[in-house]
Amino acid sequence: MRRQILALILKELLAVLRDPRSRMVLIGPPLIQLLVFGYAATFDLNHVPIAIYDQDHSQASRDLVARFAGSPTFTVKDVLDNDRRMNALIDSRQVQTVLVIDRRFTRDLLTHQAAPVQVILDGRNSNTALLIEGYVNSIVSGFALGWAQEHGARAPPATLDIRARYNATLSSRWFIVPGIVALLTEVETLLVVGLSVAREREMGTFDQLLVTPLRPIDILIGKGLPGLIIGAAEASVVIATAVLWFQVPLRGGLIALYLGLAFFILAITGIGLAISSLVATQQQALLGAFLFLVPSVILSGFATPIANMPGWVQALTLVNPMRYFLVIVRGVFLEGAGLASVASQLWPMALIGAATLAAAGWLFRKRVT
């Protein structure tokens, strides 16, 4: 590499690291996001407040209630003895679910009829409602099996034997935390690269650079590589935190992970440079970065699956580099994916990187000259 470019990279890194404000941008928000996302962004249900209306008052119904009371998923907030407050409790969001055990519960159990249990759910959060339904289902099934064993009854002819691969306890933290590797790398790389040219334009040093013997391509490389270095460093910290602090298993090879990371940062750097070459001020750069980040995160599969989106939106996600890297990072972390299995995700990122870098180079030259 030519010494001039090296000097440019060194200068870029120094500029970022010596300024307390940009040092803050590199350390503060990522740390907060990592912790907040790691702890708050969870689809796992804990301590769901429920109310129970047991009309049966039998040993069997009390056993069933005890199973709910003992589950970490639920917290019994209220026990009702009539149906007057039932809807009000849900409406006012004091409980998310009311379990109504019918007066005929024990009788039907003993007479081999379907014993009715009603679950009333709050559909204002439909995802939680669905998940609660699943949990209630498994507690009730567990109760039924136990009851069958105690009373020597016959079990149903076929049972479901459910196992989850890669994430046996179905912890959503294992899903979210590796995703943060992708999220933070994207945010930080984009900010570092996207704002750097705008900052120089504002300070007037950009003209100074252009007047030196450095060629536009040198400047482009000199601006791009620091993003790569900072992005990779940032990602490494998050990966280490994910493994050591959040205890997410890292099952696959680091080579596959870092190869994916390199391609990902390359693509993001291209986008950052393209934004950078279009804007005149840091404020516009920030707005541009934000306008790219929001759709890119939402349409990446970070929080909700791409498969659930309408077809044309799914097509749109094909140009989103984060989509590919998310597959790699989750694959390597949880599925133990190796190089061979992530290869199919690499070339789209390479393609996006090549296209955006070329566009950035072209825009750059156009703006410069």
């Binding site: 440019l8 010596r18 252009l210 030196t212």
Partner: protein, 597 residues
């Protein structure tokens, strides 16, 4: 010092102190200021950038509170009752405080509403103001689309909607062309005479001091002196002379500046203007040994002389007063010849031919032609928006021209190979440096960018540190440097690779007169050694350092020539010794007269 029948003071400051926090450090903006501004007079607040002028203005306006001391404005303690004071004063901040996306009339309406001018009184008041400022035809125009001079007048009109008792104007003449400047002073004169308004006027242009009734001279947050401008110049009487010699003015100036008993020596036309430490005619023979034909003619003192004298007598930070001048190069005699006449140097290095630049329908640079010879200092003079920066940027290859041709050392820098660019040095406006990098890191980076390596790089960095006295702040971030230091560092960075051609964009704006002198000293020395220098400036007096210059307005070159020739053209019986500003105004007036005809 103040005259005996003392008029009541409109503004009184007593032992005022104000400091700001910047990161971990405290910066003292003002310290121990005791001064006053007389009622009904124009008081000039004069000092270079960073002297504390704006802080003082804001303290008087009640926008800041003093850390210590008393400020009384119109008889009221402004720290305690800012609203009561603000109701009686008009304040125009830097950049005029206009809403650029509102029209002239909407701006006036807003300030009339804010100042509580009754609707019935407005039409009459507006008519007066519009007449006074000449903005009558433009009431429906957006403020953002007015010229600098018109913005300045609109800003002034807005502060005058409700006639104030005290008018505070913070650097109203920055970047404004001399004609508008002169008009502003006429308006101010009218206001004080007719409406008995008290005016506090801050400026970095020392030549404006002489138009004030009284002057407060501040530097580095301290009051260097106060009183009528005549008192300042009176101190200096008998101490200023024109020196002439066949030695060549640059060399003569360099020798004189280093001579004992001389506190100031600047080039003025074909002479060197000398200010001595004491009021008696020095012995010419003792001053400069080489100049046997040295002749000294007394000349009246200027305000700037007293400023320089005060700065010289202050204990200065350790700094080499000695001027390093390369020994006379072979080109000297040749230069002296080539510039003695009005002739163009035989070897043009920069050629600009029918250059035009448009932005949409707007023509920023209109058919500009000139050429610059090797070793010349060539100036582009004009107000903000005159097109000099655009021309400058095209020459550096930062902007493509719409039409025309340009060549720098035979290349078009836009398309030239990197090697061509390694021959030029560039110093951007406002001394653009990497503010987060230390002085040493800036030097290292720029030397690398200019392809210096190894021993040569280290040698040049050491040279820069020694030559520009950078050692005391080597590890400080460029952001924390004082302005004069920044200027030196910026020049050092531009000279790392020993360029043949140097581009300087507003290289001295805002720095104090001493730093300015030191800077020009270096530039002169460079020119002596054959470096070609192209410089833009809006300081009229700085053009004296140029061998030749062009005056630009509205994208056109109005005139071209040596400073002497340009000033000579403005010669009139009632103006036997015109200044560059007089010449500038004459040129502009001639151009608009031609446009009418």
């Amino acid at each position: 010092m103040p005259p005996t029948p003392e008029p009541p003071a409109a503004v009184r400051l007593e032992n005022v102190r104000r400091a700001f926090r910047s990161g971990k450090r405290m910066i003292t903006a003002l310290e121990g200021i005791t001064a006053s501004a007389a009622q009904g007079a124009v008081t000039g607040l004069i000092g270079p950038d960073g002297a504390g002028k704006t802080t003082l203005m804001r303290l008087v306006a009640g926008l800041l509170r003093a850390d210590a001391g008393q400020i009384e404005v119109l008889g009221t303690d402004v720290g305690r009752e800012p609203l009561a004071v603000q109701a009686r004063l008009g304040y125009m901040p830097q950049h005029f405080g206009l809403y650029e996306d509102l029209t002239v009339e909407e701006n006036l309406n807003l300030y009339a509403d804010l100042q509580g001018v009754p609707r019935s009184a407005r039409q009459e008041r507006y008519a007066q103001l519009l007449h006074m400022t000449g903005l009558g035809p433009f009431t429906a125009r957006m403020a953002g689309r007015l010229s600098g001079g018109m913005k300045q007048k609109l800003g002034l009109a807005c502060t005058l909607v409700q006639p104030p008792e005290l008018l505070l104007l913070d650097e109203p003449t920055v970047g404004v062309d001399p004609v508008s400047r002169r008009e502003l002073w006429e308006i101010i004169g009218h206001l004080t005479r007719e409406a008995h308004v008290t005016v506090l006027f801050s400026t970095a242009y020392l030549d404006e001091a002489e138009r004030c009734d009284a002057v407060l001279l501040i530097h580095d947050g301290r009051l260097l002196g106060s009183g009528p401008p005549g008192a300042f110049t009176a101190e200096m009487s008998g101490r200023s002379f024109y020196a002439t010699s066949g030695l060549g003015r640059r060399r003569l100036q360099a020798r004189l500046a280093a001579a004992p008993g001389v506190i100031d020596a600047v080039i003025q036309g074909s002479h060197v203007r000398v200010v001595t430490a004491e009021a008696h005619v020095p012995d010419p023979a003792a001053l400069v040994a080489e100049a046997t034909d040295l002749a000294l003619t007394p000349t009246p003192p200027r305000f700037e002389d007293s400023f320089v004298a005060r700065l010289r007598t202050r204990p200065l930070p350790p700094q080499s007063a000695a001027v390093r001048t390369p020994e006379a190069s072979a080109s000297e005699s040749q230069r002296a010849q080539s510039h003695s006449g009005n002739g163009v140097s035989p070897e043009p290095v920069i050629i600009v031919h029918h250059l035009t630049r448009r932005f949409g329908a707007f023509i920023a640079v209109n058919d500009v032609t000139f050429s610059v010879g090797r070793g010349e200092i060539f100036g582009l003079l004009g107000a903000n928006g005159a097109g000099k920066s655009t021309t400058f940027r095209m020459l550096c290859g930062l902007l493509p021209p719409s039409e025309g041709e340009l060549r720098v050392s035979g290349f078009d820098l836009r398309t030239a190979a990197a090697t061509a660019r390694s021959r030029i040095g560039y110093m951007a406006q406002k001394f653009s440096l990497y503010s987060d990098l230390s002085v040493r890191q800036n030097l290292r980076f720029f030397s690398s960018a200019y392809r210096l390596e190894g021993a040569r790089q280290s040698a040049r960095i050491d040279w820069a540190i020694g030559e520009f006295d950078l050692a005391p702040m080597l590890e400080s971030s460029a952001r924390d440097l004082p302005l004069g230091f920044k200027q030196r560092l910026a020049l050092a960075c531009a000279l790392m690779h020993e360029p043949n051609i140097l581009f300087l964009d507003e290289p001295t704006s805002g720095v104090d007169p001493l730093a300015r002198r030191e800077f020009w000293q270096r530039i002169n020395a460079l020119a002596e050694s054959g470096v070609t220098v192209l410089v833009t400036t809006h300081f009229m007096e700085e053009t004296e350092y140029c061998d030749r210059l062009v005056i630009m307005a509205q994208g056109r070159v109005l005139t071209e020539g040596t400073p002497e020739a340009i000033k000579g053209a403005a010669h009139r019986p009632d103006r036997p010794d015109p200044t560059m500003e007089d010449a500038f105004i004459a040129v502009i007036e001639a151009a608009s007269a031609k446009a009418v005809a």
